[in-house]
């Protein structure tokens, strides 16, 4: 086979096949791109929230990129939350279960988040303590300006936290 000269017919076949493949790849790529989030979705701005508006023991939910972000101002009995605490007393986590994406509910008497879907539980620091969730609730990228928090932007405190 290797020695055989490529005939004129073979050459035309390869040429047309190659050309068709390029065309098909182009079409598939364009189709792929049509499914990407639209610019208006991608450009969804950062959200600013004033942490001091949350009373101790209270939870507020901030909407960030369509995802709920839980802001919990902890009371001392809820623990110190090593490396997960913002301004010493706030837990700020994306309120989406790390198992399959349901929204956990805060159970005030037990001081845990309980996920309705498969029974996962997180403590007041957002750490997974029971059930199928594989990791703690995610901490969204944030930047601090006084008591104001900007979600969606990675400030120095966030970077330090991510380094561990």
């Amino acid at each position: 086979m290797a020695e055989e000269k490529v005939s004129r017919r073979d050459f035309l076949l390869y040429a047309i096949g190659g050309w068709a493949a390029v065309g098909a790849a182009g079409v598939l790529y364009a189709m792929y791109k049509t499914w990407e989030p639209l610019p208006e979705v991608k450009a969804q701005a950062t959200v600013t929230f004033d942490l001091s508006t949350v009373k101790p023991g209270q939870i507020k939910v901030v909407n960030w990129r369509g995802k709920p972000v839980f802001v919990l101002r902890r009371t001392p009995d809820m623990g110190k939350c090593e490396n997960r605490s913002i301004l010493d007393e706030y837990t700020v986590v994306v309120g989406i279960c790390t198992h399959l994406g349901c929204i956990p509910n805060w159970e005030a008497e037990k001081k845990i988040w309980h996920c309705p879907c498969h029974g996962g539980e997180y403590d007041a620091c957002g750490r997974n303590i029971f059930g199928p969730p594989p990791r703690p609730l995610d901490i969204p990228p944030f930047k601090l300006e006084g008591t104001k928090i900007i979600l969606g932007e990675a400030g120095p405190e966030y970077q330090k936290m991510m380094k561990g």
């Binding site: 639209l38 990129r65 369509g66 994406g101 349901c102 509910n105 309705p116």
Partner: protein
Amino acid sequence: MAKKGGLMKWLDERLAISELWRVMMSEYYLPKNINFLWSFGVLTMLVFVILVVTGIILLMYYKPDSKLAFDSVNKTIMMDVSYGWVFRHTHAVGASIMFLVLFIHMARGIYYGSYKAPREVVWVTGFILFVLMSATAFTGYLLPWGQMSYWAAQTITTLFEKIPFIGPDLVIWIRGNYIVEDATLTRFFALHVTLLPALILVFTVIHMYAVRIVGSNNEDGIPMTKEEKKKNGIPFWPVFMSKEFFVMSVFLLFFFYLVFFNYGFAMDPINFQPANYLQTPPHIYPEWYFLAFYEVLRGFFFSETLGLIAFVASMFLPLFLPWLDRSPIVSGKHRPLFRIMFWIFIIDFVFLTILGKLPPTGLFAWLGFIGAIVYFIFFFSLPIISFIEKKQVASGGGQQ
């Protein structure tokens, strides 16, 4: 096609319809030793036709927009359009019953060894139809944009996040947003009403063609040539179909009884609340036909990764039946060991389906785990049973 008058003759000369009719209908012979379970293939086609007809009517008022969808279904179709509710209930009940019919059709195939040589292509195309139906039902379920719709789509799309490397980006790509949103609804709509039904049609044709080439299996799994079937069997048309019409009538009585008097199982009350992406309903679960697979996922409650692998495996293992089970004995009727495992498997499937709707805590979590293990034991027992039966047959025992 007995009479060949003017129009028929004219068409026949141009389209060879009488030849087509002979191959597909009047000279396609079925063996006599088959039972009513062989009717379920035609029943799936009947249900599919019902879904297409009702779907087209729904399509005339449905609005695939996250702001309009809920009202277009729950107000316009249900309350304003004359008889709109009949079409919606029929479509929803049809989707549900489609899976009942499919499961029975597939279980028949498993019990009588219909997946074995030479019917592998029949089995594989049938399995692809099952996957396509599941995708169609899943995309359709999002369309009413209720709470259950929304959270089913949210959880199932999140599953893709666990695929190594590309997962997180893939999910955003599938949804067209960071969460399930308008973009997701509209693309699911497009898939649900065009691409997926079209693919179902294509694979149905291949499936039917394949059965006509290799012929139907029978209760005893005896291989028969076309000539043998012609001598001892019955033609598909008119003999088999005349029985089939009776089965269809009984089925339609049952079906419309459900549509008019017992549609609740296909219309979850939670889905009558509009989708709210900031509030998961306290207890969510898939439609009943996905519960068994879902329970396999939850069964491995101690490891998410294992649960996911098991979930995918539980859906795709049936595809490999022709290669897992290499026994020379075809029909379960003549395979005592296989029969035991088969019934354990069926009971386990029902058990998982029931468990899938119960809260996944305490004892239920462990029962789910056991159920999931039993599910897999069936598939992995097949090579062993085949090995034993091969030896029996070699030493002259067993029935062919």
